[in-house]
Symmetry: D2
């Protein structure tokens, strides 16, 4: 890991929580923002974590980008998947080193890159995207992150079938996820995990209906609200409070597990017996 | 991955979102719950994802536990870290394959196991825990998950110093995290990430004060609310709505990055210039 | 306003935020709780706001009940309407002194009593409730609060028609609110306000569909989350943080305004033009 | 209540949830918006609830303003108090017909007007505001709403003392509410209610400290999150989902009750005995 900033490095320039830029250091050039510009030559050779003033006198800090900065700064374009949702999907579906994951609706590769980063070094992400334009962008993004060995993109409609079998997880970011439920069932290994991200309740309702019809169990639905707090200084004190504006909604996360087709005596479910207001342990 | 259930397997038994148990299959034995018991012999040899009825007639589904089930079911005891918080820390701090992470306040190893799982195969978690009792439990938990190669526990007070240097991330789950800020600074690599999880606002305020004094930048504070929705059946329809009860608070997450000690012309910060209600991009 | 506690007074006994009781002082008797009992004779003649110890040594404070304590403590039984929802309905629908309000689904009178309290002295609440049992309870509750002059209960199905015309607001707390939309239209004055409280999204969707078909405009949907914080003492400091458990959902509030039947050139609405993520001013 | 629109009427013009204007009808004039203008002469004589197209072809609906529209549209200027907070204060403090309320930090009269509207016809609001400029604006706003009989403004610093005694409620919207706690105690009747609205946690902490020192009990802290949902049309269906952006924070609401000065045996409080995560009943 390089400690001194060099030509060609990717760096994260931070002004505050919102104004922050992931850029590549280019000798002899400058980086322009609405807070003024900085010359790359002024920071080359300086240690990471250095602060510098822009042409307008504002203070910028220069950091090594983390994986998260790369994943979420480098790639945002079509489907936006938020870190809070991506990470919760990752952990709840048990995706990790060695996982084999089918992703449909790859868009420009935001979620793909998160998945690819975390299935290393022995896992694989199979990314289905019908739009050739998006796919090209996704491939470029994955290449830039050096994650090609862990991704196999397919420019095809997932509805026509998933080529892989025995996969650990299927992750959908599609307008009509319920249509994909049968092919997801076929692709998944026994007890494999289905995940769908959808902005509207109607999508969730239809997906659940399809999951229940197609032999999925342990259906769980969540939404995550990320509430950023802000620092400000009042006289001598640093004062904190929640930010006035927040993102109130990104989407609903639906999880389910593949059940076997073994017959049981009666198809009656436990659904009605659930307590109306049962506190969930958050897991 | 074994498809048929065998003696010795770990399985997840699911009744609903709340009543679910991670257990080991033991030939000749039974598993008792308040919904009735099941005999392991009845499910040995059956495919994963199978459903079975308990002695009281309730329907249980039997699944392979995911990594998440192991991480959060196997280990809960002292400090409870929730999946929503653990995963957001993971991704925001950029922890992944190869990361070197110091964790202080390991408790019985909940967060440790998440970190260890995701730094595989080349990274390492250094877990500091002052309480020998907790540490023993943590070691046992990590062993059960087969993650020992990726964890090095230390039964010592992190305040007396962190032995590692050049680490990528320091993660704290302590009552007085602000006291650890100076040693965290020393242990971190240039531009390394500091993370602290704290239930109260006062803890956050003191930690921020310490971070600002000890040359950390890019301070960000978040809280995450996980809102579970529930399914119920009304006549023919499946109806969904948010659950009545939810966990309203676990803790605040504070992130910061190590800045270099290079002098700058004036120590004046950008703090006051921040927009009062700037919408955060969610990252 | 009586300052000294007298026999026959209603008082609010407070142990903490949760354990609090609205009771009537009865000479010679005692009030039993799981924190011990208090004898009414010990507090008769004492000033309001007095503290007293129970037989078990716990500290109870004795207060005058506020209107809110009466409204929400005296009446809770069938439909639970929460203060946060009741008050937001009140103010958003502009209900106040002199308002004429039709309420359907009165249950045991929780919302009725709030409405009646606030339409004083010249307004009126017309409460429709099909269940005679509930209605009796509601009447008793309203009587206890001394609000009979402001309420007229009707033991009939609102679907068969609303007898009043030219009312300011129609408030529904029904399982199938969409069926009532046409009769609500007839009962309302020009530009009058429709309000419906529903726990599920499907109910909201059907109600909106009916509202759009039956010439209502300015449709708005909200949910309110009340997050209680808690105090605790850490050494010398009082420390606050959000409570661990909270009520995550009560119901969705749908508001609409009656439009006139004047023809317009084209029925095309503005619906699609709305900004996808427009921040609402909260009103 | 006039059914046909007349010259001089106040009307609410609605385009959508955000773009809505409270204006006075002026014969011969037009009202200009960024969606085009409408001529008042085109709507004079039309029924309320009528729709009309602007010069740019957009559909505007014309409604009678509700009390809420007047209260929150007419008055917003300095301290913004949101309907969700104003109404929750109103009901939780039991403010209603006949209440005597002291308000400090009246600003331009937003909260004052809500209070005045609801204490009618026999109550009174005493509004303290140190800034003469704000006070003038507040007086004008109250006059426009016809609520002067229910308000008495005082251009003085509330810290120098509250002239009223035996008031039911004291409502503060100040930067340093903790300083006002002693004078609030003196002004309140026995068991009277203290309310404070504050944006930051530090303000709440200091206020609580002062309340505990000055013999207030039943201290409760809340925050309210209002989550607007949006309608959109997908093909034939009306689809709803939470809005992307929401107001994540306005302020914290602190409530307390005046306790008597009667001595008790020991000053030990119940504070530590409270359950860590007790679910609140929402009231």
């Amino acid at each position: 890991m390089e400690r001194r900033i060099q030509n060609g490095d990717y760096i994260l320039i931070v002004y505050d929580e919102i104004r922050r830029w992931l850029v590549q250091v280019k000798e002899g050039e400058a980086y322009h923002t609405n807070k003024g510009f900085i010359k790359f030559d002024d920071i080359i050779g300086k240690p990471l974590g250095v602060r510098t003033r822009t042409s307008k006198g504002h203070l910028f800090s220069i950091f090594t980008p983390t994986a998260a900065d790369f994943l979420f700064k480098a790639v945002r374009q079509t489907q936006i998947i938020y870190p809070k949702d991506a990470s919760f999907i990752l952990i709840t579906a048990g995706i990790g080193p060695g996982s084999r994951v089918v992703e449909a609706g790859s868009g420009s590769g935001g979620m793909t890159s998160v998945l690819a980063f975390y299935v290393q070094p022995t896992g694989k992400v199979y990314g289905y995207e019908i739009n050739a334009e998006f796919l090209k962008k996704a491939q470029k993004n994955i290449a830039r992150l050096g994650l090609e060995p862990f991704v196999e993109f397919k420019n095809k409609d997932v509805l026509t079938g998933i080529e892989e079998v025995d996969v650990d997880v299927v992750v959908l970011d599609l307008v009509t996820p319920w249509e994909v439920v049968p092919v997801a069932y076929s692709a998944l290994k026994a007890a494999g995990i289905f995940v769908s991200f959808s902005p509207t309740v109607v999508q969730v309702e239809k997906t659940i209906e399809a999951l229940r019809t197609h032999n999925f169990g342990d259906i769980r639905i969540y939404e995550l609200l990320l509430r950023p707090w802000q620092l400000s200084r009042k006289r001598e004190e640093v004062v904190i409070r929640p930010q006035t504006q927040m993102i109130g909604h990104t989407g609903f996360l639906t999880f389910a597990r593949k059940m076997s087709l073994e017959p049981i005596e009666s198809e009656e479910q436990n659904l009605e017996e659930r307590p109306a207001g049962g506190a969930d342990s958050g897991e």
